[in-house]
Amino acid sequence: MAFNFNWSPLTADASFYTRAQELLTTALNKSPKPPIIVDDILVNELNLGSVPPDLEILEIGDLAEDRFRGIFKMCYTGDAYLTLKTRVQANPLNTYLSTKPSFTSPQPLAASSGLTIPLQITLSEIKLSAFIILVFSRQKGLTLVFRNDPLESLKVSSTFDAIPFVRDYLQKEIEGQLRTLLMDEVPVIIHRLSLRLWVPEYREREDEELARNLQDSTTAEKPMDPLASPPQDPVDSCGNILDASQIASLSLDSGPEMHALFSQKNLLRLSALTDSHRTLSLFTPGIRDVVFRAWAGPTERGEMHGSSGRATPMTPVMARSQSYTGNASTTYVFSEAGDTGHHPSRPGLSSFGSAASGLGLGSNKHGKPHGGRKRKHRVVNLRKKATDGDDVESVSGESTTASGTMSSAPSESGARPVTPERCDGELVTPPRTPENTAAQKEPGDGTPLRFRNFTPRQPQRAEVSENTPRQPQYKVPSPHSLTQSGSRTAKRPSLRPPDSLQTTRYPVEKGPKPEASSSSTATLQQLSPSPIDESSSGGMVPQPWLTKMAGEIARKVQDQKAANSGFWDRNDEAQEEPPPAYRS
């Protein structure tokens, strides 16, 4: 797997450096300083340089429109530098005594008199190599954790380079300080920034969640925050998480059963409606006797899918394309080589903007066709400002698509009875997968891909539906999901399930937001039609064959999983079978 990392846009953003400097300054001054530093540390200069870090995707544990979890390996040997200004106490006796209890102090007369010296430190030749765990969720923002000590080496040049003793001392002190900064402070900064980026939605959402939680207090399981506990223990993840993932996937993808209930026309309209949210288009199709709430949780999306699966396969495609257009500003394009071939396409997250760190990985949805080895393109948005707005919108829009409108809640409930019928749903869905593969294959080249890459959602559906009958053994722990879980065996190792629970609730209470969002989405709608066509064309592929294939793959994966349960194990990756994460 490889991706292109576009580094320059970060540096192009003028405000980025000033903001980063401020953040760094506060972060550096927050933690208790060694006694030798007698003044505030000011970040004088900051330059990220022109050499980007090498990022390697080790594992993607969870991928959806509104969440992402993955492990990356980062190596950095670039030309970034950082200049700090502060004042230091040059008298070692002074600093030594300042940390000791006065009772046993030798109380020197003047030998401890201070000599403060302005100091300028330049940190350069920073070498980082770390395993990064990145967890993103729309509600909780972006969490980035270093799994190991990221700092490999560092060159500290200062005013005192001529004095070896001082130089060594500074080198040691600064390395230590930087380590704590990277390990403790940076994740916090990034998290806060990511929250800030999503502020409007985030706040509203939080309020709603609060209210919802209050009302839903009866529900046994409280939604857990996937971000709060990024899966650091691979061991845990295998068993429980799988179940959870199932739940999540079920709730999210709840679609297939539903299509029978809706007419194609209505579905088209709904899709247009959701698309309008995703885009900036002001046009919203009128649907009678329906209250449309946008910004609903992931559950809604499931509804959409269901509809799409049956009548209009195109809708999901459209959604994705639009979201990408939103991301047009995004800086990173990841192209995945076909090696990962067998990933059931999952309508992954469209984009994360992790503007704060500059490391932010927006993993957009990767659509991976089932059998095909295709290129995956992910667009990651590292930019903060301009893009942020877009990203947010796109993300939210997708989520809305996924989670149906108000109707979704009822529909789901309705779906439970429907579950037995799934066979039908399965049959119907499969045709789409081929489409996706085709669509994805095309995008092989750089930018144009954006619109296309993400189509793969539908294939997931197909898979899911197929898988479900065969793997009933996975049981969904949570009562909510149970209804659906039985049907969908698709395992997603991710932590999602809690989210899904949450999302299911959304529809009930979500009211006011949607309209606002819908109005905001304007431009992108035009794009939607074309994807629709593509998808529709895809429908030609023989369904039975597809279902069969999907079933095969699912089984294979299952076996594999049983064999090596370590969900974070790289073995999964190495083998051609898609890691469980990719199975939706």
Partner: protein, 416 residues
């Protein structure tokens, strides 16, 4: 304001005839007392007692945000029966360190003076002081062992035990050798294996040999020592009016391979000086290029002024501090009149300390203030109300803007 335990400890020094002023460490004691006084923080109560001439206890309760306290015990093998322990009787000058008037050098006792023979056996002991203090919420323990090894030497071992310190605590050993004319100290701290040597040399004529105080029992206290000093001063008419001292110190930490060095000069007037007493010091830290000069004046028995100028030849940083110490006398017209009359009659009421001892309540309080060039202001008012000694102070930053008050506190002491 000194704590009760410090007060008792100083009394022990006096009783064992140890000259605290004759040390390089106290070269700038006068200016430090006037300029570097510490202001109390928060609210703090001390209750202490000298339950027996050998044993003292003290309890402290304070609150700075959260309540904390300490228990301390002190044992002195040297009885201190004449020590004024009641807070109503303690001389404020002993609790409020201010301008330190140097006394004439006193030739140390001959070792054999300390020998006590009883039925053919030596039964004299080396005087020692033990002190321990436990800070309660923090579980920090301070301990001090002080021992007069010989008339010229004193060993002081202080320890702090605290789980938060590296290695769980530190020990400082301090060996002092005072030969009147010169004084040397050796310091070792377990923290980073710090070694230190200090030395002080007093220029001028040798001190006159003191007359052995055979009649003085081992529990002789301040007054007897002072009388002896007064006696010797009276004996030598042609004695200098001032003393010039020079000294230096050097430290080296074996573990952290760092050290420090400084040298200092002091000129101070002696009691025989006819004008107002004054003290000048100059210290130099050649490694760090720090130069510090102080000038302190005891303008009147009630007023002392001090100034300090620091300059660093490397960084060109300078600092100027000015401070004052102002005493307020209690109205005691009768006693004053008597003293005056006594003086007129040619009786010896010469030395102030003895006079203070005579009327320890003579002072109602002391006001200290300091200000530096950066707008830092420190105020301290210490005094006595009935049986209670109080000390309230504030640290103010004149350029601090809204939060000018950096610290404010009140301390109340009671002892019996």
């Amino acid at each position: 304001m000194l704590g009760f335990m410090d007060y008792v400890q100083n009394a022990f020094y006096e009783a064992s005839r140890w000259d605290r002023d004759n040390s390089y460490g106290t070269l700038t004691a006068t200016s430090r007392n006037i300029l570097d006084f510490s202001t109390p923080e928060g609210l703090r109560f001390h209750v202490s007692s000298l339950s027996s001439p050998n044993f003292a206890t003290s309890y402290t309760l304070g609150s700075i945000g959260l309540v904390d306290g300490s228990l301390s015990y002190l044992y002195s093998s040297l009885p201190l029966p004449r020590l004024a322990a009641k807070s109503s009787a303690i001389d404020l000058h002993h609790l409020v360190p201010g301008y330190r008037q140097l006394q004439d050098l006193r030739q140390p006792d001959e070792p054999w003076w300390w020998e006590i023979w009883h039925q053919g056996k030596r039964i004299d002991r080396r005087e020692a002081l033990l002190y321990g203090r436990l800070f309660l919420p923090r579980s920090t323990l301070e301990a001090l062992y002080l021992r007069r090894l010989s008339p010229k030497t004193q060993l002081k071992v202080s320890c702090v035990s605290d789980s938060r310190l590296p290695n769980g605590g530190t020990i400082l050993a301090h060996l002092q050798h005072d030969a009147a004319k010169h004084n040397t100290e050796y310091i070792y701290s377990t923290d980073s294996a710090l070694f230190g040597v200090r030395g002080l040399y007093n220029f001028g004529p040798d001190p006159a040999p003191t007359r052995p105080l055979f009649e003085a029992s081992p529990d002789s206290t301040i007054s007897t020592a002072n009388e002896a000093a007064a006696f010797t001063t009276a004996q030598t008419p042609s004695q200098p009016h001032g003393r010039f001292s020079a000294g230096g110190e050097i430290y080296y930490g074996l573990l952290n391979k760092s050290g420090g060095i400084s040298t200092g000069l002091r000129f101070a007037t002696l009691p025989s000086h006819t004008g107002f007493p004054y003290t000048m010091t100059l210290t130099l830290n050649p490694l760090m290029g720090n130069l510090s000069s102080t000038y302190s004046v005891l303008a009147s028995p009630l007023l002392a002024l001090s100034s300090r100028f620091d300059f660093n030849v490397y960084s060109y940083e300078s600092e100027l501090q000015v401070g004052t110490e102002l005493w307020r006398r209690k109205e005691k017209p009768l006693i004053e009149d008597l003293n005056w009359a006594r003086l007129k009659m040619g009786q010896k009421v010469l030395n102030d300390p003895s006079k203070d001892l005579d009327n320890p309540n003579g002072m109602a309080g002391c006001f200290k203030a300091r200000v530096d060039q950066r707008g830092g202001l420190g105020l301290l008012w210490e005094g006595r109300v009935k049986e209670l000694l109080y000390s309230c102070g504030a640290t103010i930053d004149l350029r601090g803007g809204e939060n000018m008050f950096r610290g404010f506190g009140v301390e109340v002491q009671y002892s019996s």
